[in-house]
Symmetry: C2
Subunit: 497 residues, 2 copies
Amino acid sequence: MTELLEAFWAYETALMANDLPALDALFTDSPSTLRGDAAGVLVGHDAISGFRRGRGGAPKREILHVEVVEITDDTALVIAITQPLTGGRGQQTQLWRRGATGWTVDAAHVSLPAPAIDTRVWRTIGSPLVAPVVDGPLTGQTVAVKDLYAVAGHRVGGGVPDFLVESPVATSTAAGVQLLLDAGASVQGIAQTDEFAYSIAGKNPHYGTPPNPAVVGGIPGGSSSGPASAVALGQATIGLSTDTGGSIRVPASYCGLWGLRTTHAAVPVDGLLPLSPSFDTVGWVTRDAATLAAVASVSLGEQRPVDASFVVDPALLAHVEPDVRSAFEPYLAYEHVELGDFDHYFETFRTVQAAEAWRSHGAWIEAHPGALGADIAARFAWASTITLVQEEKARDDVAAAREHLERVIGDRVLLLPSASSAAPSATADAAAIERTRAGTLRLTCIAGLTGRPGLSVPVMSVPQPGALLPAPVGLCLVGPRNTDLALIELAVSTFAT
Amino acid sequence: MTELLEAFWAYETALMANDLPALDALFTDSPSTLRGDAAGVLVGHDAISGFRRGRGGAPKREILHVEVVEITDDTALVIAITQPLTGGRGQQTQLWRRGATGWTVDAAHVSLPAPAIDTRVWRTIGSPLVAPVVDGPLTGQTVAVKDLYAVAGHRVGGGVPDFLVESPVATSTAAGVQLLLDAGASVQGIAQTDEFAYSIAGKNPHYGTPPNPAVVGGIPGGSSSGPASAVALGQATIGLSTDTGGSIRVPASYCGLWGLRTTHAAVPVDGLLPLSPSFDTVGWVTRDAATLAAVASVSLGEQRPVDASFVVDPALLAHVEPDVRSAFEPYLAYEHVELGDFDHYFETFRTVQAAEAWRSHGAWIEAHPGALGADIAARFAWASTITLVQEEKARDDVAAAREHLERVIGDRVLLLPSASSAAPSATADAAAIERTRAGTLRLTCIAGLTGRPGLSVPVMSVPQPGALLPAPVGLCLVGPRNTDLALIELAVSTFAT
């Protein structure tokens, strides 16, 4: 076993030096080679090699102990107790095999000590942060509050550290939070968001990208990235979120969660940092329909029933990736409608959104150059160029679009994919991200324009290369206004078999 | 591989049913069978079986995917993607082997999703909770503040939930915390303590027992259990703690950390919830000597040098476990002294401590029946019986003991084990825990009685049955008053080779 131990230590040396060719050479060159850690299990030498290229080196560590379990002359399990330089202990289990090129790893399982707080997901956590005040239908539920809502005693950060620093300590709690507390829930903590919620990616340059446990190395979607990640990871049961242009439906779709963008104005926005008030809505992500129905029940005003009458517009599929198109195929059996020009809809939506976003945050942004990451800074810079004339024109177009869409959809429920793709990789190139974003926003703006509720249901999936499991994609139900609760019931009875 | 998969699913069924005989039968009956999770790696069928008996069942989960890597006809690696019912994803890697009794597990590595906050360790966490305000010698250091210190904007909980609820939000920050902030450190969060710090075990019935990564299944020691666990786990770099009767030295010893109980009154106790003011001291646990020296430098008043002149009292070893006695053996080469009657010292110490502890908390405890767990409630109940006459007598005895000990030790440094044993198992019986406690307090009370600094240095170890690595035990240096900093330097140059 001398050769095996030499290979083990060569691997360790290469890992600490981030010597990628050496690491590649010491993992078996096969499509079935496996490597798992807290982010999930990667399958195949290419996926593992790609992961190593994206991460910029492993955390520095010492090996405290090596235990070799000999299986045959040519195979052994090697278990190492590791100690990161930052403290704590980890474990690494590797299956080594001697082949033509010497000893290589067929499968590895790596555990690192957990951080005190995953700052990609959370800004502040308590045990809980706000204790339950009464017993009610949400007793036992723990809430991840998106960092746009006021929580008494805490600041609102909006995903922007410089904004957080100047933010006053809230003296009262936002309506959307209070409704949950009054129903028996506790607040687990305040969860991260994209900067000022002006993105659907879920990548925050200050706090990092919250993990998506459903897609190995995938972005979680945004802007409700922290609440969605927290709920998907099992660190909260309810993600109190917001949706302006897809900020609940997209992370729900990417992470395999239930997500509800409520009817516009159905839940009060008091105490909520605005982005674009014409479209801003309160909503939630959960792991199951029952929890979503419970939280919606205690938060929503008067509700209406809805008919099980579904429509689809095949033209929408022009904007989605081929694998999502295939997954959506069965739903094309429902009645077809023609909604109109999606490029135009998206353009009118984003013009009014931009004008309002600049009105919400422009003065602060101008006073704080460099406070935002490049992507969101560029989006706000573009927003600052919208003229009043353009805005007025876009508002007219929004009104016309609403009228047209209401007429076409009527009392029926529009079905569409919640996003144009499964979660892109966190290391995907900008062009790929932009393509999926452009496609997704053409889908999501329909609910925004009409003020209708949009429910993302985790019932579709697409192949996930380099992983053991498929990647989730949400099926979105856009129902008539104030049918939010009925939509959940309808989705459960019709689709969530 | 049908039989293997049958065994795999039989194991899963047994795990979900907590069918202990079935689980035992499916792990190979060998002293070299291995099972690792975030708490560490257990070695041997007995240790694994004992762990299962102590935990009361595994978290409920679904298996999302099973991947079998065939090695030989009789061996295979089985990798499962798990989904706890509480959300998130985990991984389980098992090496199965076919023997005389069918397929059994030779080695297993289990990963569960991390919780949002480990409430055994922390009460509240931020990113950070209190940001650094200046650059200084502690820039980059993150502090776990024991839940006895006031932090402006937060409550002091003292390890007692009912006390926390009524505790006012602090308007200023304790001196011990402010000294660290003024030197550039940030506060990561507020960490757990034994109830009112009146224990050296580290078991809190309300919040659970913080993990000790150095001893698989071991208690962390207390009462600075949260700070010590946080630092040992790598979740903070400095544990701001207190030591009355061993509350820093014991967790440092159990967790393999550096720990300093400072000279009595050398660091102000303003803003600190008292236990026994005659003995209460501020202090810290860290993973290395350099960090401890840095934090001590910015916190301590005027310091004195110390000579490298060590003494030991072999009679002390009557109170320690045999394995610790063996580990301490080399230090018996130093000059011998006779300190006196340790039973009497401990009795005088604990009588004054109890009288003061009751004065600190008795009124609150009487007004809140049932607020404390049985162990600490019983200790306070006993404390309530100390009469003024007994207290006065004990104070005289403390003064006499101090005078005697000062005369015997003089300007030299007393060496002794920081604790009478390595960390006991969290499931050890009450008699075993009490034996080690009684022994440990006879060692730790010497620094308390004299007001001298006590430094625990992680340089000894004892065998750890059922684990791959030995368990740490601290070497304690008790130096003259106000030699705290010099003691650290002396320990580094003399013992930490």
